[in-house]
């Protein structure tokens, strides 16, 4: 069984559905990329899994961690999981750290919670972790406040804090979006290095297919609260089977070669409160047919380990149309 198994998870804020049945699994040690435009539900997928959404959010479905249900679980179940088994880092490192506490203290908190370290051993471990994530002069820097560090350094601190609990999975929610390009590459490198050195799994959330494909072996593409395609990274590039994925690929700047005009997907993501009938992508889809506005497409196996939720996706010869919830 997968390490994390999300089944038919839904999230609604009031009457507006933000996640509309997500099924996704992450294997132990795997690096999975989660891609999609802003607002498609990437962050809330993982916030909901860890019980971190505000009480106003109605969460349905199931998230199994090693077979243990997390949705609706009590604090005594969730607290050891958060940071201890699944750690999460966020988009804006400057505001993700508490401005009134020294960074060393904030890391030590995680050490006390998940590894029972306090005092001098905790202090030594804080310095080792800061060293590991590439903060120069870790001994002095442990006493710094977040505003005394740059954005890139703060994100390294966040990573050190995440590593403090020795989690089995790190969910990195757009860890580089707020940083300059050179720093972005350094942080992604760092995540890669850590993955090589530990057996930690990674979920990398991004709206950039390029970033994700460099780091992750498998990619899930989200649109309007659904997963519309998931496959091995290579298969996503070789055989993109959902028009939205093809749109994202078309919007990617070529890594080398002459500059060419990027084809961006026309239109915008539908509001949660005004989901169109049928396929949510239909209003923007250049390949839509009449049926698209009638049938909400289920995920189809287009080839081994490759699912796409489009009624025009061609199933593999052996594949059958199966509802998404059964497949994942």
């Amino acid at each position: 069984m997968a390490f994390v198994q999300i089944r038919d998870m839904s999230v609604a804020f009031g009457s507006a559905p933000a996640l509309r049945g997500i099924s996704l699994s992450v294997e132990r040690g795997e690096a999975l990329g989660l891609v999609g435009e802003s607002g498609c539900g990437k962050s809330i997928t993982w916030l909901a899994a860890l019980g971190l959404l505000p009480r106003s959010a109605k969460v349905g479905g199931s998230v199994l961690l090693d077979g243990v249900e997390l949705i609706g679980a009590s604090p005594s179940v969730l607290e050891p999981v958060r940071g201890g088994r699944i750690a999460m880092i966020f988009q804006d490192p400057a505001s993700s750290l508490n401005p009134v506490h020294r960074i060393g203290h904030q890391i030590a908190e995680a050490l006390a919670l998940h590894r029972g370290l306090t005092g001098a051993p905790a202090r030594a471990e804080v310095i080792r972790l800061l060293d590991q994530v590439g903060i120069p002069d870790a001994k002095t820097r442990a006493n710094a406040y977040p505003h005394e560090l740059s954005g890139g350094q703060n994100q390294r601190v966040m990573i050190a804090m995440a590593l403090a609990g020795e989690p089995e999975l790190l969910v990195a929610d757009e860890p580089t979006t707020a940083l300059d390009v050179t720093i972005q590459a350094q942080i992604l490198d760092l995540l890669g290095t850590i993955r090589r050195d530990t057996s930690m799994g990674l979920v990398l959330i991004s709206h950039d297919l390029g970033v994700v494909s460099e780091t992750c072996s498998r990619i899930a593409v989200m649109y309007a609260g659904r997963i519309v395609e998931q496959a091995e990274s290579a298969a996503i590039f070789a055989n993109p089977s959902h028009p939205y994925t093809r749109g994202l690929l078309g919007a990617m700047p070529p890594i080398s070669g002459p500059r060419q005009k990027l084809v961006s997907i026309p239109g915008s993501v539908p509001e949660a409160s005004r989901m169109p009938q049928g396929c949510a992508f239909a209003p923007r889809c250049s390949e839509a047919i009449a049926d698209c506005t009638r049938v909400d497409p289920a995920a189809v196996t287009v080839e081994a380990n490759h699912l796409a939720a489009c009624i025009r996706a061609t199933p593999a010869k052996t594949g059958t149309r199966t509802p998404e919830r059964v497949l994942a």
Partner: protein
């Protein structure tokens, strides 16, 4: 931190000079003290003699300079009413005023902050709504109206508490409650919104994502951050407390500094008014200085001079 303290101290000094100057000008422009003291029917020679005796015939800037000189030598002149030392006249009223304002301040903080924090943590529950209704009421109702209502209920109708004077500690209850309620209401509102603002911040989510229990998140990560704006409000509130004392002491005939101020202003008793205003200004400036220091202690951004480093 030293630089930080230095600038605050300089600011404090400038504030004192400005307040004293302002009062000096306003008092002298609003009427002739000699006429007020001697009465409108007094013979002109008597008024002139009075002016000479009190230095009121000197050019205004001479009066102003000698006033500052007097402040530095600790001599604020004599009360024009009875010739006693103005500072002594004021100081003997101070304990009475402190007997009201200190408990009122403790009520403000002791009720306002916990109520605001509780309301924020239980947002949109019945208790939150109750706290907010009380807070809006306390904030909107002028203190003299609340004072009248309290007198009506507890003195006139129930006959439990005296409505005026300073015969026993029972006399202090209604004035303290009057001042305590308004400030607590103000503080509850600000604490609640400061707390809600903090609870919505990313670092609170980080603290939860780390595995901390909700109470640890609130105690270790939310409260200190919410305290930063709240402390500023407490600084402003001290000003409100002084103004409140003037009103409440008048309503309840409580012989404190506030009532002395009202009486002295209407008598144009310049020396006493100036002594009071100077004392209030010094208290306020000192209070704000303390607030600034607290602020510096709570918010590391205030004291640090380290420039952000590059990654």
């Amino acid at each position: 931190m030293l630089h930080y303290l230095g600038t605050r101290l300089l600011r404090a000094t400038v504030s004192v000079v400005m307040v004293v100057t302002f009062v000096f000008i306003v008092l002298r422009m609003s009427g002739d003290p000699a006429v007020v003291i001697m009465g409108a029917d007094a013979p002109p020679e008597a008024v002139d003699a009075f002016r000479t005796a009190w230095g009121l015939d000197q050019p205004i800037w001479v009066q102003y300079l000698s006033f500052f000189k007097a402040i530095f030598s600790g001599d604020l002149g004599q009360s024009m009413r009875d010739g006693r030392d103005a500072v002594a006249v004021v100081l003997e009223r101070v304990p009475s005023t402190l007997a009201l304002t200190v408990p009122a301040f403790l009520l403000n903080v002791g009720i306002g902050i916990p109520a605001g924090v509780y309301a924020a943590l239980h947002r949109n529950t019945a208790i939150d709504r109750f706290v907010m209704v009380m807070a809006v009421t306390g904030f909107a109702m002028p203190s003299f109206i609340l004072a009248m209502l309290l007198v009506l209920v507890f003195s006139v109708n129930l006959g439990w508490l005296p409505s005026a004077g300073q015969d026993s500690w029972l006399n202090a209850i209604l004035p303290i409650v009057t001042m305590g309620f308004g400030g607590a209401a103000l503080l509850a509102r600000f604490t609640r919104s400061a707390m809600l603002e903090v609870l919505g911040q990313s670092y609170i989510r980080t603290a939860s994502a780390k595995g901390l229990s909700w109470s640890a998140v609130v105690w270790r990560h939310a409260l200190q951050n919410a305290a930063i704006p709240t402390v500023t409000i407490i600084g402003f509130m001290l000003g409100g407390l002084v103004a409140g004392a003037v009103v409440v002491e008048s309503v309840f005939s409580w012989p404190g500094v506030g009532r002395l101020l009202v009486v002295s202003v209407s008598n144009r008793d310049l020396a006493v008014v100036q002594a009071i205003v100077l004392m209030i200004a010094l208290t306020m400036v000192a209070a704000n200085f303390v607030v600034d220091i607290l602020y510096g202690l709570l918010d590391p951004k205030m004291q640090s001079q380290t420039r952000p480093a590059r990654a």
